[in-house]
Amino acid sequence: MPGLVGPDEVRRVAQAALEIPGADGVEVLFLHEWGGLTRFASSSIHQSTWREDTAIRVRVVSGDRVGVAASNELSPKGARRAAESAREIAGVSSPDPLFPGLAPPDPIEDAGRYDEGTAAATPRIRAEAVADLVAACPEGFVAAGAYETVASEVAVANTEGQFCWAPSTQASITTVVGGGEGGSGFAERFAPRMQDLDPAGIGRRAADKAVASIRPKDLEPGRYPVVLEPSAVSTLVGFLAWIGFGGRVLAEGRSCLSGKEGQPVAVPSITIFDDASAPGTLGLPFDFEGVRRARVDLIRDGVFLDGVYDRRTAKQTGKASTGHALPAPNPEGPLPLNLFMRPGEHALEDMIAGTERGLLITRFHYSNVVHPVESTITGMTRDGTFWIEGGEIAHPVKNLRFTQSILEALAQVSMVGRETELASEFFYSASRVPALKVGSFNFSGRSDH
């Protein structure tokens, strides 16, 4: 198994790019990642993989012209070649009047999210964990899913003198247990260390859902109160991050939150913030242009405060970068990748008990934007949708299509869960969110299972 390249070697490789003549500034983004994924279906391991890759992405500045080139050749020669290509691009590019210059020096301490055991996880260890998960399936039910262990190191070096390096690990298990007559249950867990995953517990949770969801009944589409488990809430928060919280879409009037700074956009029990340094999340202490990731309060007590910024959108808006740049070039602008929704005081059971008629939603599936400015998205329920009657789960229902404004839902939240879970709606992002009870949620269609 490979190990960390380490900051000294990264500096040596990067230096070959930083020293390229004829450039006014150079930035090197270094990524090294390795890990394995044990994929299973029908309670057997059918597609297991391992890979190691590197990327050296060089941004060269010539006046206010910028070029970017990347290579996966981990050597001074590879870095130099990428830099030469980026310099050629910068030479013919047109000026970018919003280019803010490269990040200044700022020593950023390691977040301590690297676990040697997770980095060195073997296929045998993952296979044993999957076996523990599968063992939780009762007779007639099978599990599908993936157990992944990944290690990475990311560094940014530039000619302004900034250098930051951070290693991290991530482990995750996602599973769908199915069987019986239409039974399907889901559970997942993400953590920086594989020891924190509890594969058997994940299997039991998904299996319990699957057993409870056999023989689902039809339900007419319409508006219903819903209790959303954390995985479902992560979909709403993840999409809100994408279409709402980025400094560029905010500044350009394309966000559902443009012009709403200082205004209530949700009930007072809703607070959403981004904080890469907080315990309980994944990721890096700096962004992909070497700026420290700041904690940003996005919605506090129901009031929208502001979004997140990279150096370019900071210049565009006259604000400071919050450290949320994605790798250059990035026409989409900055994004929050470490979201938190503040927990409340209610147990999930309290939310169900407090619902006279409504739905319990385990998760959403294949969601997409319908109307970005209204924050309306559509998607399906999946792997455990239940009808609540008289404060108790009455029976499972077949999957429903929702078409719903996220902000409208957040304005109708009546209960916030006290437990939070880390979930990931998009690659490279994670949201730690609680369950929510929403007074009215729009279901516009249904499926046959």
Partner: protein
């Protein structure tokens, strides 16, 4: 071949190795300002092995002999670990070993075209869009990809292939009064990508269509909302390609049918026993997966298992006939592979992916179909897609729509969308356009698998008409 030998030495009963070199170039211009130019290069090797009937796969960018030997050992170790959960050992459908080379068709290598020429094209297109009053953003993009693959298997196959994919598009965005409206050309999500060279980009007509595209975006701001009703729906070929992709292409992937994708994007309502029996669509609908189509993003000489490119009827006159398959999955049904295994670069193992899954053209133009429609709605250019985990209930959004009255387009609508149930929808199809409005589109962003892979696939599509469709879904 050294990698295959290393895998055999590590205990593999079967092994294949792919050395892949990927190169790409992407340019984005917005409002005559450079948003970014990016080039990337990536090279590595992916090794797939079968040990006692269990798969293992390992990949590395390090290509020294000792690295390849270590990677082969890891692949074998993965395969042995998989036996912790016993299953029926994997067996592969037979395929004749082949050797040879293949290149996608290309007249002018797009990577040799000066950057200045590419930038000038996008600058002029965005300038023309910006000449339209009321437009907020005018964006243009060019995306170029080159992939060289050398595949060797322990059965004796040794093939080398080079594909070049070129694409470009423009997008106009108008903002106002809580609305964001966009129009794209020639298609949304960065345009039209094809297996071709720079000549494809030059023929797209980005500059010629810029002003019309921008004008429609601005007009949409003041258009009425698409009404909510059950009506006759006509969709353009750009939208039909994604309808095919989501509600036919994915459901007939045999790995999905067999539950291998269950935990990620889900399975399929189609069952193995549905071949030759399932009335999938009306008898006007015939769907073919053709990896031999010139210009298709899903075209190749051999798939990543060394199976020759082929033309496979998927739906014939409305009846489902064949799956997209691999050597492993086809063997389970006692069939030969359909040759649909492709991997996203060297880093990933091959999965069943769409090739060029296309609707066969029938008769008439888009104008003919509209002219033959008394009352309905015409929608064009996709903005949004969603489908359930069995590929049954779908909802699509489009950029623009018009009311059809008496065979003519009348009032424009904004925010159009439609929803339906896959087989009900396809069975309601009563018109499919002819060759004159049939386009071989590219879908360069098809996601599948864990770890996630992105494939570039092709879809030939014509405009088509569907009856009794729910349109205008509101939140």
């Amino acid at each position: 071949m050294r990698a295959v030998q290393a895998a055999k030495a590590a205990g593999a009963d079967y092994a294949d190795a792919r050395v892949v070199s990927d190169g790409s170039e992407s340019i984005t211009v917005r409002n005559q300002t450079m948003e970014g130019i990016h080039r990337s290069a990536s090279e590595g090797i992916g090794l797939r092995v079968l040990v006692n009937g269990y798969w293992g796969f390992a990949a590395t960018a390090r290509l020294e002999p000792e690295d390849i030997e270590r990677t082969a050992s890891v692949a074998a170790e993965i395969a042995r670990a998989a036996s912790r959960l016993p299953m029926e050992p994997v067996r592969l459908a037979e395929v004749e070993p082949v050797s040879g080379t293949w290149h996608s068709p290309m007249q002018e290598d797009p990577f040799n075209v000066p950057l200045e020429e590419k930038i000038a094209l996008l600058m002029e297109a965005t300038r023309r869009m910006q000449s339209v009053d009321g437009l907020a953003f005018a964006e243009g993009g060019i995306d170029l990809y080159r992939r060289r693959t050398f595949l060797a298997t322990s059965e004796g196959t040794a093939v080398e292939q080079t594909t070049v994919h070129s694409g470009a598009g423009i997008e106009a965005v108008a903002l106002g009064d809580g609305e964001l409206q966009r129009r794209s050309f020639p298609n949304s999500f960065r345009g039209h990508v094809a297996a071709a060279g720079w000549e494809h980009v030059q023929k797209l007509g980005l500059i010629e269509e810029a002003e019309r595209t921008a004008t429609e975006a601005v007009e949409l701001l003041s258009a009425k909302e698409c009404p909510s009703e059950v009506t006759t729906l006509v969709i353009d070929s750009g939208q039909l390609e994604l309808q095919i992709h989501e509600s036919i292409g994915h459901p007939v992937e045999l790995d999905r049918v067999l539950g291998m994708e269950e935990a990620y994007a889900g399975s399929s309502f189609v069952r193995p026993e549905d071949r030759g029996r399932l009335r999938y669509a009306s008898d006007l609908v015939s769907i073919t997966a053709d990896a031999t189509l010139p210009g298709g993003l899903g075209s190749f000489g051999w798939d990543d298992e060394g199976v020759p490119a082929q033309r496979v009827p998927i739906i014939v006159d409305g009846v489902f006939e064949n799956f997209l398959s691999s050597r492993e999955t086809a063997r389970l049904l006692g069939l030969p592979s359909s040759g649909a295994m492709r991997a996203d670069g060297w880093q990933n193992l091959p999965l069943i992916r769409m090739t060029n899954v296309s609707i066969e053209p029938r008769e008439g133009s888009l104008a003919d179909i509209i002219g033959d429609t008394e009352d309905g709605i015409f929608m064009a250019t996709n903005t949004s897609w969603s489908i359930d985990d069995h590929r049954v209930n779908f909802q699509f959004g489009c950029e623009i729509a018009w009311r059809i009255k008496g065979g003519r387009l009348t009032e424009m609508y904004r925010n159009p969308n439609y929803t339906g149930i896959t087989t009900e929808f396809w069975r309601s199809c009563d018109a499919v356009g002819g060759r004159e409005d049939w386009t071989l589109w590219g879908t360069p962003n098809c996601g599948k698998g864990q770890p996630g892979q992105v494939a570039r696939v092709g879809h030939g599509a014509a405009p088509a008409r569907f009856r009794k469709v729910q349109v205008g879904v509101r939140g």
